[in-house]
């Protein structure tokens, strides 16, 4: 495959197409669709972590003015089983975790629904619960695979022998807490039944995927369900797969014979819409005195639920990063009485690279080698474990350019010697990486009678800029300008497309858009084509024929941290990332993706932590006053740059995904900078004051 010449619109910093709608309040999100006679449903959550519901007393609830119905396992319709047990809503009286949805109150107004929820009396028969992830948990097991389909374990050479023989070793345990995605728009659905057809206004990262799942759950043919999702208030993975509220809305609307709105509250989001598993990671590195690795071992302990197995692929990234003849990775899970972990920005790579890149920093210190140079010394020729050729790999270029832009050259590696007033100052670096994949998708392109074009695809713009970059891609493929292209996305009635996940959106959808536009141009070239003319494309065959290469984006991230010598307060005063991600389609929206990822990474390093309440068995700090995401004052100077990377083995645009790589190296870069500032190595995120002062 060659990268086709796309020059006119791709590469231009076009403003977001829906920008005006978003800044004027006209962009309508899921919950903001209000069909006539709509009712409001309020979910009710289990107040025990394990056991069963003994009785539900709805008398007081139903006696309230405005209340229409109470739905629970006692009166819910039987649903079809799907792979995700979290969608088996109200199918039994068993409680699998605290906060699980066990009932819903439907009312004429949101106020009445909330009051009805408060008055519902549920009696439980609790059983002992187990919610604590520990590295010595007796029920740890090795799963058959980790997400999406990687072997849980890998081994090459003799790790123990190489570690024993190594001149320098690092053996450290790093841990990360549970993190919650917390998109600004809570998960919401408006459900409308009409003559047995179900329409759902939904906040989703993939309308076609949501449609298929909901159809299965209700035993309907997919064409009788439509999911509409024009604007999505963020997702970061948590809206990638349908969550229970979509089932609840559809069930409640069926039950009361009226359209129903459901919005998960911010507090309910901490139990019902997924989160990143906590991890305990043991990293062992063996190297010669110059820092050349002879052994890498990355062993991960993480949690899943009793509802469903979800194995975050935390150590898989270590199979790609650095050369070493002896290597091992492994994952062990334990099934706890907790909500099922789910997708969160860069699942696997993000927590895994925090541990690996922290350990690399420790190795650099132990060897007395510059941390940038250490990474360059361990650059592999091919993907280390698979032996596959890289389609392109410019980690070294990113490290060198980042070092130059950041001013790394004069850095004294000695920790805890730079002080400016109250502040100890340090700098750190970490590599980042994320796979560059694509998935089959379909698209339709139409030449309209007025000379314009309409391109239609079931894609999603969750804030990534997808609507804008697809317009640019289509404009070039049609050899027209973006203002002549009308891009329609966010509807399961449109050609079936992969979801906004795995940083695969632009590559997957863009390929389909380009192929549909090419097919349209062939038709238009035929003599006497009367407008409108339409053409479709399906990329399944094209993608199946892709050469078997290792395709990944790479990056280098640098951070400057200041630590208050007395209080332990940490500030990230500078953050700089350089990325090699193929061709950047829109520099404006791309930059936003990178700085957004890095901002979330600062939260991961310093602020974010979901604390498990062992006694009651749920996450304790379940709101934005207690779960601290970065605020405006937490973000100072932050820069994103990228290399010109020409990779002909990707897709017609030559692009790699950019939505996730920004978060990947950030936490390690910050942690390494904090070490450099203070001489203190905190191996447990977040880097809290008490951990620094301990």
């Amino acid at each position: 495959m060659t990268t086709e010449a796309l020059t006119a619109a791709v590469g231009v910093p076009l403003d977001r197409i829906e920008g005006r709608e978003k800044v004027t309040g006209q962009a309508r999100y899921a919950y903001e669709h209000s069909p006539d006679n709509v009712a409001y449903a309020e979910p009710v959550q289990a107040s025990i972590a394990h056991g069963e519901i003994r009785s539900i007393d709805a008398a007081e609830t139903l006696a309230q003015p405005g209340t229409i119905a109470v739905i629970s396992h006692a009166n819910a319709p039987k649903l079809e089983q799907v792979a995700d047990g979290e969608l088996a809503l109200f199918q039994s009286n068993r409680v699998s975790y605290r906060g699980q949805l066990v009932a819903a109150v439907v009312a004429d107004s949101p106020e009445a629904a909330r009051e009805g929820q408060r008055l519902l009396r549920i009696e439980y028969a609790p059983e002992p619960h187990d919610v604590e992830l520990r590295a010595d948990h007796p029920e740890l097991y090795t799963p058959e695979k980790v997400n999406p389909a990687f072997p849980a374990e890998s081994a090459q050479g003799d790790v123990e022998g190489a570690l024993a023989a190594a001149e320098v070793t690092v053996d450290a345990v790093y841990s990360t807490p549970a993190f919650h995605n917390n998109p600004m728009e809570p998960h919401a659905t408006v459900a409308v039944w009409e003559q047995g057809d179900l329409t759902l206004y939904e906040s989703t990262q993939g309308a076609p995927n949501a449609r298929d799942t909901v159809a299965k759950v209700f035993g309907l043919p997919p064409e009788r369900v439509r999911v509409i999702s024009p604007h999505v208030g963020g997702g970061f993975g948590s809206k990638g797969t349908p969550r229970p509220q979509i089932i609840l809305a559809a069930m409640a609307a069926q039950h009361v014979g009226r359209p129903v709105k459901v919005a998960v509250t911010r507090q309910q989001m901490f139990a019902t819409v997924g989160y990143r598993t906590p991890t305990i990671q043991r990293l062992r590195l063996g190297a010669d005195a110059g820092g050349s690795l002879s052994a890498i071992s990355h062993e991960v302990v993480e949690q899943t639920s009793k509802v469903r197995e979800f194995g975050e692929q935390t150590a898989v990234v270590t199979r790609t990063m650095y050369a070493a003849p002896n290597r091992r990775t492994g994952h062990r899970l334990v099934r706890l009485d907790v909500p099922t972990p789910s997708w969160m920005r860069a699942p696997g790579e993000c927590p895994g690279m925090y541990a690996l890149e922290s350990a690399m920093d420790e190795l650099a210190v132990a060897c007395g080698v510059d941390p940038v140079e250490l990474r360059i010394r361990n650059e592999p020729d091919v993907e280390p474990e698979s032996g596959k050729r890289f389609s392109s790999r410019n980690l070294v270029g990113c490290l060198r350019e980042g070092a130059e832009r950041f001013g790394w050259e004069d850095r004294d590696p000695t920790p805890a010697i730079r002080r400016e007033g109250r502040w100890l100052v340090g700098s750190g670096v970490a590599s980042s990486t994320y796979p560059a994949r694509r998935q089959p998708s379909q698209a339709r392109a139409r030449a309209e009678a007025d000379g314009g074009f309409t391109v239609t695809i079931g894609a999603a713009d969750i804030g990534t800029g997808a609507r804008t970059v697809l317009t640019q891609i289509a404009a070039d493929a049609l050899e027209t300008s973006p203002q002549h292209v009308r891009m329609e996305i966010g509807d399961s009635a449109f050609p079936k497309a992969f979801l906004a996940g795995g940083s695969m959106g632009t590559a997957s959808w863009g390929t389909a858009v380009v192929r549909a536009c090419e097919a349209l141009r062939v038709k238009l070239a035929e003599a006497d084509a009367a407008l409108p003319v339409e053409a479709e494309a399906d990329t399944a065959e094209e993608i199946k024929a892709d050469e078997d290469l290792a395709r990944h984006g790479f990056g280098a991230q640098f951070a400057e941290a200041r630590v208050d010598a007395d209080s332990g307060e940490v500030r990230v005063t500078r953050m700089l990332g350089v990325f090699a991600v193929g061709r950047v389609i829109n520099p404006k929206t791309a930059r936003s993706q990178f700085i957004g990822g890095m901002t979330m990474g600062i939260g991961m390093a310093l602020h974010e932590e979901s604390v498990m309440d062992l006694e009651f068995g749920d996450y304790l700090n379940r709101d934005l006053a207690q779960y601290h995401v970065p605020a405006c004052a937490d973000v100072r100077e932050i820069e994103a740059h990228w290399l010109d990377e020409d990779d002909p083995h990707l897709n017609p645009m030559g692009s790699k995904g950019i939505g996730e790589i920004g978060i990947v190296g950030t936490a390690a870069a910050v942690a390494n900078a904090v070490y450099h500032a203070t001489g203190k190595r905190v191996r447990e995120l977040p880097i809290r004051l008490d951990r620094l002062l301990a």
């Binding site: 403003d15 977001r16 829906e18 920008g19 005006r20 978003k22 800044v23 004027t24 309040g25 006209q26 962009a27 309508r28 999100y29 209000s34 003015p65 405005g66 004429d108 107004s109 949101p110 106020e111 009445a112 917390n182 998109p183 600004m184 728009e185 809570p186 604007h231 999505v232 208030g233 963020g234 970061f236 919005a263 509250t265 911010r266 969750i462 804030g463 990534t464 800029g465 404006k588 929206t589 930059r591 936003s592 993706q593 700085i595 957004g596 990822g597 890095m598 901002t599 979330m600 709101d623 934005l624 006053a625 995401v629 970065p630 605020a631 405006c632 004052a633 973000v635 100072r636 932050i638």
Partner: protein, 172 residues
């Protein structure tokens, strides 16, 4: 609905007077969104912790999810829909587009209304916790001041690095 829960209220929203019968438990945010179909103000947390619902109430920025509608009889409300007049964008709205100061857009109406309120506070000489001179009449609106004064509005997409220059530009 039970009569005793309903009360009549008159509000002026974006220059237009509305006479409504609302549940005494209705927040200003729900009144705007569910009764007037002004969905620009967003519900991000419903607890005054995220700022997505920020509107101007009698000229001052408030989290409308924490305001009971019936407690503000006769008040004047400006929402994001009222900031642009006759199709002309407010300078803050134009600057947010120019600087790509948002991604998903869900916090954006709140950010912009909050910024409008914040600029008025700064113009009136209100100091912030990072102001070095509390008595200064017209202190410079530095990036540090903007960051501090805008920290009640959370953006999970992480657009802060673009929001600050957008506001600084619009303030000029």
């Amino acid at each position: 609905m039970a009569r005793e829960l309903l009360t009549e209220i008159v509000l002026t929203v974006n220059g237009e007077e509305h006479r409504l019968e609302v549940d005494v438990r209705t927040t200003l945010l729900d009144l705007l969104r569910e009764h007037l179909d002004l969905v620009g103000a967003k519900k991000g947390c419903d607890h005054g912790q995220c700022g997505a619902c920020t509107v101007l109430l009698d000229g001052r920025r408030v989290n409308s999810c924490l305001v009971l509608a019936v407690a503000h009889q006769g008040a004047e409300i400006t929402t994001i829909e009222g900031l642009s007049r006759n199709g002309e964008l407010h300078p803050l709205q134009a600057a947010f587009i120019e600087h790509d100061a948002f991604q998903c857009g869900y916090c954006t109406p709140g950010q912009i209304c909050s910024a409008a309120g914040m600029l008025a506070e700064h113009d009136a000489g209100w100091p912030s916790v990072v102001s070095s001179d509390l008595a200064a009449e017209h202190a410079e609106l530095s990036d540090e001041e903007i960051r501090e004064r805008m920290s009640g509005n959370i953006c999970r997409c992480g657009a802060y690095a673009n929001i600050v220059p957008a506001i600084a530009d619009a303030a000029r």
